[in-house]
């Protein structure tokens, strides 16, 4: 070997050894026993800390734990006062009066007032802000007109007087209280927002915090940051954790490894069917409901075959939902029994809403074949050729369309030909919105813990999410009744929802596939964390290590 060759070899060896030992050194020490700190991982980058503009659940998770709203969901799934001392709803359900706690402060020490709440709502609906979630405010007096640029922002039905905030609504909205706990409607400090301008929310320092923790060390793109106890939070005496360390770990296997080494306190195992199967029986595995449902939408506007009720019913009957959940999702999701997902909310009698409304979806191959034959004869256009569209966000969604294609083709034989169309997420959205599909797999994440977050999807033929453009008057009437006549009568609403589900199944307007859940390994010595099916999925306000 020549001199330089020896040097090369030496450098490579030294580098490898140095790297190895450094890595080995890092494996030492176990952070899972330090009582002052908690450690968590995010599976994706934070995209923004702009309260009005955040759209993804991970940015929302950071915001939800560092910003407080008027109400906060507690461990029982109720909207309990946070920044609010109390709130009142008028008898007609159209006016909400909220009284703030006194002496509230921002993390920078300045006063947090009712005006900050009003400003946040106004900023949300202001077309100049360009918020993608502005439509959530729809229902508040004048909100729609402001969003359309027809009225001034100041005309929004949210007003402050002293410590009191009044919300005026167009009509009774039983779900409105949940919006008061939404991270996107948390108060924002006007002077601060205006001072930061374009840079607002782009780094941890370019945001002020009203929640139990302040956010630190995020420079806009880095993957390691932390939440530090906010001494200006009104309930800081009950916040026991001093620091929560966060890191972005995109690789699910790495996250699992970190959990096993004690470096993070929680890891999701429902990303892939294999990871789920390998870990679901561990004693620290915990499942929590997620208010999300996956269903097929049939294009009943343009597709002659799918306009036929018998064919739709046949397709629904040929879908074996429990097999689908086993084979395509490996058990990471539950078979659907209704449009509404499991574990969203409970009825007045304490039953899970989905269990209460389930109309009885079944798998019946014989009946399906018979209905399909009859349907085809009625349509009289020969072989049924349809496309089945989904977005390629995960293995599970690919498996799902593979399964459905195979299930339908093996049930109806040569009478049907299903072609898969797997497109990027945003193209799928566009296709859904413009009705450019035959059958599309839709995932819907509920916004609040109330049935209407699902049923309002198809409130009318032209409702924004009725992509299949179906008309089902029985369903429309039931939903309308729930939203209006029965808006303040909880038990009557539940019955309306049940009627709606029944009508949906009878006409086979959609095909519910599965209900989501999230399964994680959770460190047993961490107490007080709240997992919500909607909104803030992981609330660490009172979480601490025992």
């Amino acid at each position: 070997m020549k001199k330089w060759q020896k040097w090369t070899a030496a450098i490579v060896v030294v580098a490898a050894v140095a790297g190895g030992t450094k890595a080995a050194g890092l494996w030492g020490g176990n952070p899972s026993t330090d009582k002052n700190t908690l450690n968590y991982a995010l599976p994706a980058d934070i995209q923004t800390l702009d309260i009005s503009k955040s759209t993804d659940s991970y940015s929302n998770m950071i915001l939800g734990n560092t910003e407080s709203n008027l109400l906060r969901m507690n461990s029982k799934g109720e909207a309990a006062p946070d920044l609010a001392k109390s709130y009142k709803v008028s008898d007609d359900g159209k006016t909400y009066t909220v009284e703030l706690r006194s002496g509230l402060k921002w993390s920078d020490g300045s006063k947090l007032t009712a005006k900050d709440v009003v400003y946040s709502w106004q900023r949300m609906v202001d077309p100049k802000t360009g918020s993608q979630y502005a439509s959530l405010a729809s229902g508040v007096l004048n909100a729609d007109d402001i969003m359309a640029g027809k009225k001034a922002v100041s005309e929004l039905g949210v007003s402050a007087s002293g410590n009191t905030i009044t919300f005026q609504l167009d009509h009774a909205m039983p779900q409105f209280k949940y919006l008061l706990s939404f991270p996107n409607f948390a108060p924002q400090k006007q002077t601060f927002v205006e001072k930061q301008g374009d840079k607002y929310g782009t780094t941890a320092a370019k945001q002020v915090y009203s929640g139990a923790y302040k956010f630190e060390d995020w420079n806009g793109t880095n993957g390691k940051f932390k939440m530090v106890k906010n001494d200006n939070y009104w309930d800081s005496k009950d916040v026991k954790t001093k620091t929560i360390n966060w890191q972005v770990v995109k690789n699910a296997d790495t996250a699992l490894k970190l959990y096993k080494q004690g470096k993070i306190d929680r890891v999701s195992i429902s990303n892939t069917p294999e990871m789920y199967s390998a870990n679901k029986n561990k004693k620290d595995a915990k499942s929590a409901a997620v208010a999300a449902a996956t269903y097929l939408e049939y294009n009943q506007d343009t597709n002659a075959f799918l306009k036929n009720k018998k064919i739709r019913q046949a397709l629904n009957l040929a879908t074996n939902r429990s097999e689908l959940a086993t084979q395509a999702t490996g058990g990471t999701r539950d078979a659907a029994q209704s449009l509404v997902s499991k574990g969203l909310t409970e009825t007045t009698s304490g039953k899970d809403l989905s269990d209460y409304v389930k109309p009885g979806y079944t798998y019946d191959k014989k009946k399906a074949q018979q209905l399909f034959k009859e349907g085809l004869a009625e349509v009289n256009q020969g072989k049924m050729k349809i496309s089945l569209e989904t977005d390629a966000d995960s293995v599970i969604s690919k498996n799902t369309v593979d399964y459905i294609k195979q299930a339908w083709e093996s049930t109806f034989g040569s009478d049907i030909e299903v072609s898969e169309k797997i497109v990027p997420f945003k193209q799928r959205l566009k296709d859904s919105q413009s009705g450019d599909f035959d059958v599309v797999v839709t995932n819907w994440n509920g916004d609040y813990a109330d049935g209407s977050t699902f049923y309002d999807l198809f409130a009318s033929k032209d409702a924004g999410y009725n992509d299949g453009k179906f008309t089902n008057q029985t369903y429309f009437d039931a939903v309308k009744k729930a939203d209006n006549t029965d808006a303040t009568n909880a038990s009557a609403r539940e019955q309306d929802f049940k009627d709606a589900e029944k009508a949906l199944m009878d006409d086979a307007n959609i095909n519910p596939l599965y209900s989501w859940k999230s399964t994680s390994l959770v460190r047993s010595n961490v107490k007080g964390a709240v997992e919500n099916p909607v909104g803030l999925t992981l609330d660490l306000t009172y979480a601490h290590r025992k």
Partner: protein, 340 residues
């Protein structure tokens, strides 16, 4: 005493014999083949590729594209993720594996009550991996060959035109090539695939539209050299038309360069097909290609490694064979190698 009686004439007997060439005359192709034969790796690769292509063709009749997508929709997890089983007691090929969540090694086939043996195992929906790899290989080869054929046609014409006409035409065409090469191939392929949407046709087009550059360059350079040669000048003087000279005199004389270039283009097309699959722009599901098999099985690596390692190994072997054969051919075409 006559000297002629002591010495016997053994060499050339007469004047005519001095003109005789003892070695058999070989045509150009015969001599290429003669030289190629000496390179064992190249010959093995060639036979391997012939066998693979024959397999891909013959299997069309046996394993249809559709049959590789079949599985039982009502069998629960009975057929899912079965390890390869040859039916013989060969380690790692006997159907033994661990069930996720436990550490014991068991015969998964026995445990699930499966009578059939899947030689290459099954995937996460219970589809036969053997069938999927067969179809995948066929599709990947088809994509690569089709894309290369387009490259060949386009790249050769482009290079001929550029080299033959020279002058400002050459300058413009070369500037264009420079611009194309300034964008990394992956970016171009990705943007084109996004534009055309998924499907075999669009992938072929996307790959072909980026891969012809190398061919065009080579052909241009060859044309520039060849057009100064006597036989071309002669043809010109005799009044043969441009296209005729190009195809009758130029192309046959650069056949070696072209063939070698083709051998290098095919593996790169196979690779780009896999890359496109990895970013979800591959062939239409559930059709299998080597690329989609690899990318779909990526998160299986830790749990069922055979699902990703088998198609990966096949992809590498096929590329390797093309490159080895290409190397061999390049040497065989190289006159410097003559009689070595």
């Amino acid at each position: 005493m006559e000297a002629s009686q002591d010495f016997e004439l053994v060499g050339i007997e007469n004047v005519a014999a001095t003109e005789k060439i003892n070695k058999p005359t070989l045509t150009f192709w015969q001599s290429v083949w003669h030289r190629l034969k000496k390179n064992k790796l190249a010959v093995i690769s060639m036979y391997f590729l012939i066998a693979i292509s024959a397999f891909a063709l013959v299997s069309t009749a046996v394993v249809s594209q559709n049959s590789a997508n079949q599985f039982n929709t009502n069998a629960g997890s009975k057929y899912k993720n079965l390890p390869p089983k040859s039916g013989l007691p060969i380690p790692f090929w006997d159907g033994n594996g661990t069930v996720l969540g436990s550490t014991d090694k068991v015969d998964v086939y026995e445990k699930n009550g499966v009578d059939k043996n899947f030689i290459l195992g099954t995937d996460n929906l219970g589809r036969s991996l053997g069938k999927r790899v067969t179809v995948g290989l066929r599709i990947s080869l088809f994509v690569a060959l089709a894309a290369t054929a387009i490259d060949l046609l386009f790249g050769v014409s482009y290079g001929l035109v550029s080299g033959w006409f020279g002058g400002w035409i050459d300058t413009v065409l070369q500037r264009f090539i420079e611009i194309i090469s300034a964008i990394p191939t992956l970016v171009v392929v990705t943007l084109l695939a996004m534009l055309f949407g998924s499907g075999i046709g669009s992938i072929i087009l996307a790959i072909a539209l980026t891969n012809w550059v190398g061919m065009a360059r080579q052909v241009r350079n060859q044309t520039l050299t060849l057009k100064e040669r006597d036989f071309v000048l002669a043809a010109k003087t005799l009044g043969e038309s441009g296209p005729k000279i190009a195809f009758k005199h130029l192309v046959p004389n650069m056949a070696g360069t072209i063939i070698v270039q083709v051998m290098m283009t095919i593996p790169s097309a196979i690779m780009f097909e896999a890359v496109l699959s990895a970013i979800n722009l591959g062939v239409k599901a559930p059709t299998a290609s080597l690329g989609t098999l690899i990318s779909d099985a990526q998160q299986m690596l830790q749990y069922y490694p055979y699902q990703i390692l088998i198609p990966s190994a096949i992809l590498v072997l096929v590329s390797l064979a093309f490159i080895l054969l290409g190397d061999g051919l390049r040497d065989a075409f190289d006159p410097k190698m003559l009689d070595e």
